[in-house]
Symmetry: C2
C-alpha cells in the first residue's frame, strides 16, 4: 500500500516532531522525511531505507570494534524502523514487518549501550513472555539500586524509551522498559487487556529477584496510554512505591469520539478485535480506573499538556477527583501538547528527577 501525496497530508497530520526528535530522531531525518512525503514518497519506505543505512553503519562499527557507535547507529536504525510503522494501523502486514525489524535491530544494539549494555529479559506469563530490557546505572556495582518500570503507550514501545532511560541512569536509577499486552512485540501474542496489572506485577516478581535491584525501591512511569497502565499497576501492587503518569488518562470512553480518527483506529487495532463496535466496547470496559483508584497509596506525579488532542482536560479533572486523596502532584502545562512533547527538554528531566528522588536514587 503506497502513500500518495493525498494521504501524505494525513501522515503529516498525525506526526509530532517534538516527540520524534525528543525520542532520538535527528531533526534533519524528520525534515527529509516530510520533504520526501511532499514529493510523493512513501513514508514507510523512506524510514525503512534510512533505518537500513544506519543498520549498515552500526554493523560496520561493530565489526571495527567501535562499540559506542555500533550501539548508537543500531539504536538509530531501530528507531527509524519504529517511526516507519508507528501509526501504520491501516496496513497490518507492513506494521508487523516494521515491528519485527525494529525489535531485532534493538536486540543487536542493546549489548553496546553504556553503561554495561541493556539486558533483554523475557518474563514468563501464561503461554507467552513479557519482553523488556533492564538497564543499570554506572553506580550499580556499589549495591542494589532503585528501578523504574517504564511503560509505553498506544504505539510507543520499549525501544522508544532509550533516551528517557539515559535520563534515569544519569540519576542513579535503573530502568526496565517492557511491552505489555497490545504493545510492540507483545501485541502479536496478546491484545489490549483490562488487567494490565497482572503483567506489570509479573515484571515486579522478576525484578525483585534481581540482586542489582533494591526490591523496596521500585517505581513505575507510563507514557500516554501507558500513564493509565502505570496508575493501574501502582494501585494494585503495593511493591510499587512511586508512580508517574506522563499524560493524564483515567478512562477512555469519553475520549474516543473526540480524539483524532487515526488514533481511535489505533486503539481499536491494538485490541485485536476485528469488529469496530466490539473493539470499542472492550476499550471502554478495559480502560477505566474507577474501580481501582481508591487503592492507590503511593505518591503520584501527573504531567499533562493543556493542548493534548488525545486525552482532554476531562482526564485531569478525573485524576484530581479520584486520585487527589493521597500524595498527588499534578502539573498542567498550559502550552503543552500530548505528553508535553513540545517541551520535552523541560518535562522529561523533571519527571526523571521526581521519580529518582522518590525512590532515593543517587547519581
Amino acid at each position: 500500500m503506497s502513500v500518495t501525496p493525498e494521504t501524505a497530508d494525513k501522515v503529516k497530520a498525525i506526526l509530532n516532531p517534538g516527540r520524534m526528535t525528543a525520542d532520538g530522531i535527528p531533526y534533519p531525518d524528520y525534515a527529509a522525511a516530510v520533504s520526501a512525503l511532499d514529493q510523493g514518497a512513501d513514508w514507510f519506505d523512506f524510514w525503512t531505507e534510512l533505518g537500513d543505512e544506519y543498520a549498515g553503519l552500526g554493523e560496520e562499527a561493530a565489526a571495527a570494534g567501535n562499540d559506542v557507535s555500533a550501539g548508537g547507529w543500531l539504536w538509530q536504525a531501530s528507531l527509524s524502523w519504529h517511526y516507519a510503522q508507528f501509526m501504520w494501523f491501516h496496513d497490518a502486514e507492513r506494521r508487523e514487518a516494521g515491528q519485527r525489524r525494529k525489535v531485532e535491530l534493538y536486540k543487536q544494539a542493546a549489548p553496546y549501550f553504556q553503561p554495561g549494555g541493556a539486558e533483554r529479559i523475557e518474563v514468563p506469563i501464561d503461554d507467552t513472555v513479557i519482553p523488556g530490557y533492564l538497564r543499570l546505572p554506572a553506580n550499580a556495582g556499589d549495591g542494589p539500586v532503585p528501578c523504574a518500570l517504564l511503560i509505553g503507550g498506544l504505539e510507543s514501545t520499549k525501544e522508544e524509551s532509550y533516551l528517557f532511560e539515559n535520563l534515569c541512569l544519569a540519576r542513579g536509577l535503573a530502568t526496565f522498559a517492557f511491552d505489555g499486552p497490545g504493545q510492540g512485540e507483545m501485541f502479536f501474542d496478546v491484545g489490549l487487556v483490562g488487567d494490565f496489572e497482572r503483567y506489570s506485577s509479573a515484571v515486579v516478581d522478576a525484578l525483585v529477584e534481581r540482586p542489582e535491584v533494591d526490591s523496596g525501591r521500585i517505581g513505575v512511569l507510563g507514557r500516554s496510554l501507558g500513564a493509565y497502565y502505570a496508575v493501574r499497576a501502582a494501585a494494585l501492587d503495593d511493591r510499587l512505591k512511586a508512580c508517574v503518569a506522563w499524560g493524564a488518562c483515567f478512562e477512555i470512553a469519553s475520549e474516543l469520539d473526540t480524539m483524532p480518527p487515526h488514533t481511535r483506529a489505533g486503539f481499536e487495532y491494538v485490541t485485536r478485535i476485528a469488529d469496530s463496535g466490539e473493539a470499542r466496547a472492550h476499550l471502554e470496559s478495559a480502560l477505566d480506573l474507577s474501580d481501582v483508584a481508591s487503592q492507590l497509596k503511593c505518591p503520584v506525579y501527573v504531567e499533562h499538556g493543556a493542548h493534548d488532542r488525545i486525552f482532554s482536560m476531562r482526564q485531569v479533572e478525573l485524576v484530581r477527583e479520584h486520585l487527589g486523596g493521597g500524595d498527588l502532584e499534578l502539573v498542567i502545562e498550559e502550552d503543552g501538547d500530548h505528553c508535553c512533547h513540545n517541551m520535552g527538554a523541560i518535562v522529561r528531566p523533571r519527571m526523571a528527577d521526581w521519580i529518582a528522588n522518590k525512590l532515593g536514587a543517587t547519581p
Copy 2:
C-alpha cells in the same frame, strides 16, 4: 535594534537547523523561534528570554540538589544565549551581551556535568588568558587518558561543543575545548590572528602538565574555521598526534567573494579591524596553510560536505594537493552541507571514533 519581519528572512537564511539541533537546541525551541520570527518577534529577544527560563529551572534544580538537571538546564540556557547572538555581527553591543551571559551560564553549568564536571582552565598567554574546559572520561581514574583539543569556528565556541565532547568522553577520550583569538570570550581581548598555533601550543603546554592527561596522546579537532586552525596547530606542534578537520578550509582568499554576505561580515568582524578592506587583507594573509602544510606529519581526517556554501570544493582540492602526502583520510559527503550538519548523526560519531582510535582511547 529590532528585527522586523523584513529582516526575519535574512535571519532565517543564515540558520542551519541541523547544526542547531545537533548542538543541543531542542527542535521545538527552534521551530518556535522561527514561528516567532514570522510573527515579527526579535530573534535575540526570543532566545535570551527562553535562555533565562532555562536558567531559572537550572538554578531551582541546583537549589533542590537535582544536580543532573541543574547541569542540563544551565547548559541549555547557555546554548539559548549562544544562538541568540551567534551571527549577530551587525550589533556589537548585543553580541557582547550575549557572549558574556552565555559564558557565565556555562560556568554555572560546568560543575554539574557528568562525569565529574568540567574544569575551567585559563591558560596564560601574553597579557591575557586562553579560556577552556577540561572534561575527563569516566575511566580517567585508571590512569592518564588521551585528550582532544576542540576548536570552534567563526562563531561556534567552546560552549557549543558539549554534546560532541560527550561523544568523545563515551569513547574514553578527554576533551579540552577552548576559545582562541577572535573566538567567543577571547575575541574581546584578541581578534583573529595569523599565528593561531602559538595559542594552541600554549594549550598543549598546559595539558602536558596535567597528570590525568597522557602527554603522548594529544590530538586536535577543529570545526568550520576551526578546521583550518586544527591543521595549522598540528603542522606546527609535533606533540599533536592526530588531527580532524571538520570541514575543509585551506585558505580564505578564494572564498570571501562567494560565501554568504553575512558570513563574510562575520569574518571581517572577528578581526576587530574596522575598515573592511583592511580586515579582508588581514584575513587573506592570516588564513592560508600554504606555508605550513608540508610540515604536517600526523594523520589527518577531513570531513567535507559537497553542498558547503561557505567553504567550496576548491578547499578540498587544496587539501588533497597539499596535505595528501601523508596519512590523509578525506571523506566527501555528496549530500552534506557546511560541516555536514545535516547528517550529524553520521559524521559526528565517525569523527569521534577516528580520533579516539588514533589516540588509543578505550571506553
